[in-house]
């Protein structure tokens, strides 16, 4: 591998890493706050992409408006799931897990009759190509980096600088104690669901013009997001960022050097080795 190719693959890795970070944000928030592994993350990612397909691609709504619509609609879907599924089964980890898998299966199954069986595509939003260190990157891929930064910062500020964020952190540490201090646990849980779903939708909405759309399109991002949050530490936002960047580089450099299969294998080997020495991941802590 020449130095130029290595640099090019690192640039691609950075672009991949930004995509991965976006995918992992909502997932890590919900685990961090509520200790829920949100299996609907991939399905919500897919629904976010389809909101863009219909509102922007088919009905001509401006992309930015459609993007926020996707976040609002799917955020509301998160509230509904919290109210109708999570709350009635009292937030038990295993029942919630099974219920969320059921929701995912249902959403994917109705996806084909509702959205159609052929792959869909969304017109390019950000036109143009840029050359970074000799590698061509499309404007739509470059846009992921600032959006990822804004969302990460926004999430960080929300959790650390707002009253509601403080309530979330309090629930994460001790739900009963937080409730005794006057925190409305149900409201905060609903908000965590809403924000988590909205982040997954934002990720799907941003990827829609870059990739193709089909009802199963969320499966691979879900797998990648799981790898990232395990690598970074379950529930840790800095962990998700570092995990995304590391996985982006592994996927890019190893795939360029050795091919796709070794890259896939190596990401798992890396995680196994890391977990052997640091079972909580890079930034995680004991739950």
């Amino acid at each position: 591998m020449t130095l130029a190719l290595l640099i090019q693959s690192m640039v691609i890795g950075l672009s991949l890493g930004s995509i991965y970070i976006l995918m992992a944000l909502g997932l890590t928030l919900m685990f961090g706050m509520m200790h829920i592994i949100n299996f609907t993350h991939g399905a919500v990612y897919m629904l976010g992409a389809f909101v863009i397909y219909y509102f922007f691609g088919q009905w001509g709504v401006p992309y930015v408006l459609a993007f926020f619509l996707a976040m609002i609609l799917l955020g509301a879907f998160g509230f509904v799931i919290e109210r109708c599924i999570y709350r009635p089964i009292k937030g038990g980890i295993e029942p919630t897990l099974v219920a969320l898998i059921a929701v995912t299966t249902f959403v994917q199954a109705i996806g084909y009759p509702v959205f159609g069986t052929l792959d869909k595509h969304v017109p390019t939003v950000f036109h143009g190509m840029y050359s970074i260190l000799g590698v061509g990157i499309s404007a739509e891929r470059l846009m992921i980096i600032p959006v990822a930064i804004v969302l990460v910062l926004g999430l960080y500020l929300f959790i650390n600088k707002t009253k509601m964020g403080a309530a979330m952190r309090a629930i994460e540490q001790d739900k009963e104690a937080a409730a005794l201090q006057g925190v409305n646990v149900n409201v905060v849980n609903a908000l965590a669901f809403g924000v988590g779903f909205a982040l997954a939708a934002a990720s799907g909405a941003l990827m829609a013009p870059i990739f193709k759309l089909d009802p199963m399109m969320g499966e691979q991002p879900l797998l990648k997001a799981f790898i990232i949050i395990i690598l970074g530490g379950l529930g840790s936002i800095p962990g998700a960022i570092l995990g995304g960047l590391i996985l982006g580089q592994i996927d890019s450099i190893v795939a360029t050097l050795l091919g796709l299969e070794p890259a896939f294998l190596l990401s798992f080997v890396f995680i196994i080795l890391l977990l052997l020495f640091k079972p909580t991941g890079l930034f995680g802590h004991e739950v």
């Binding site: 020449t2 190719l5 090019q8 693959s9 691609i12 890795g13 672009s15 991949l16 995509i19 084909y112 069986t117 052929l118 792959d119 595509h121 390019t124 190509m129 590698v135 061509g136 990157i137 499309s138 891929r141 990739f211 193709k212 089909d214 009802p215 199963m216 399109m217 499966e219 691979q220 996927d251 890019s252 450099i253 795939a255 360029t256 050097l257 091919g259 796709l260 299969e261 890259a263 896939f264």
Partner: protein, 391 residues
Amino acid sequence: MQRVISLLSLMLCAAVAITASGPGQVNAADNVIKFGVSTPLSGPAAAWGIPHKQATELVFDEVNSQGGIEIGGKKYKLEVVAYDHKYVIAEGVATVNRLISKDEVKYLSILGGAVAKANEEAVNEAGALTLPLAYAEGLVSPKNPLIFHSFPAPPETTTFWKWVKEHHPEIKRLATISPNDDTGWWSIKVETQYTEKLGYETVAKEFFERGLTDFNPILLRMLAQNPDIISVNAAPAGSVGLIIKQARELGFKGRFIHIGQVDTSVVSGIAGKQNIEGMWVHGYVETPLPEALKSWKERYTKKYGEWNATSIDFANPAFAFVAAVKKAQSLEPKKIAQALQTMEFDNLWGKAHFGGKDYYGISNQIIYAMPFSEVKDGVATMIVQLQPPHN
């Protein structure tokens, strides 16, 4: 209470029995020939599966509208029993098992090399006549006497590379990317063997998992070898669209070629019209269409509302089956197979037959003049029809 439960159980059993046995009895009484179709009706390969099912139904509907097939003075109607396997092997095995065991189908068509290969033993054991649209090594073989491959496969379509060599001598370096399964492995193996004999240099050979969406790293690896052309042999339309789009973003200026079959209108939607310009493709023609094909297009569009050019070649199993049953004058799969090996029949491109004994060791591969197109101004325009290298 116990009596109520017993009564309900009896009613349930009766309902199950009626559901299970009903259609079989009705079909036997009505003289219906059931033809199974196991194909991807959803997922990334649906662009192949939907026209496969629809073309089969259209051919059968037209036969039925003329009274059906007459065998020994008795008229039979044709019926398609189709299941979606999503191009997932496990689903493919389940759908074929259901067709053979539950629907008691004796004739079927399977789409997808990996799926057809996984069902090889099941269809042989059941003695079912199978007319797949599938690329898989060893599928057409003397050990599968009842499997008749009904679409030109890589050993046939690679002959297009000779045309490329003659008309575009500037192309010398070939890179290939294909799905990581039976279909991809065999397609690439046959293609590279053929092209290397012609003097092409294979500079990259990559495989990807179906469902992959970000091809950037692997394309970077391929493009570092400076290929003149990229073969996306055996990849479905969605993946081809993403490969082309991302390769262009990385600066690739050469051509793309797909000597399997791909719907270039779906590819164009994902990759962008300007990015697929000049692409060569086998088995997908939008223009010019001969009279027989124009008529097929009208009938197809009338029935389904939307034209799909993939249906042209994917109607082969239905045409072959109808002609063979008529010739065999029997519903026995072995007798229909004998007819298939010895007859000529009409498909939408003209005359076709099953041959290829010199290459496969058995005359179970469809042979006809294969159409190849070049995408010109976004439209798949036929540039040549070629006979396979073996008869």
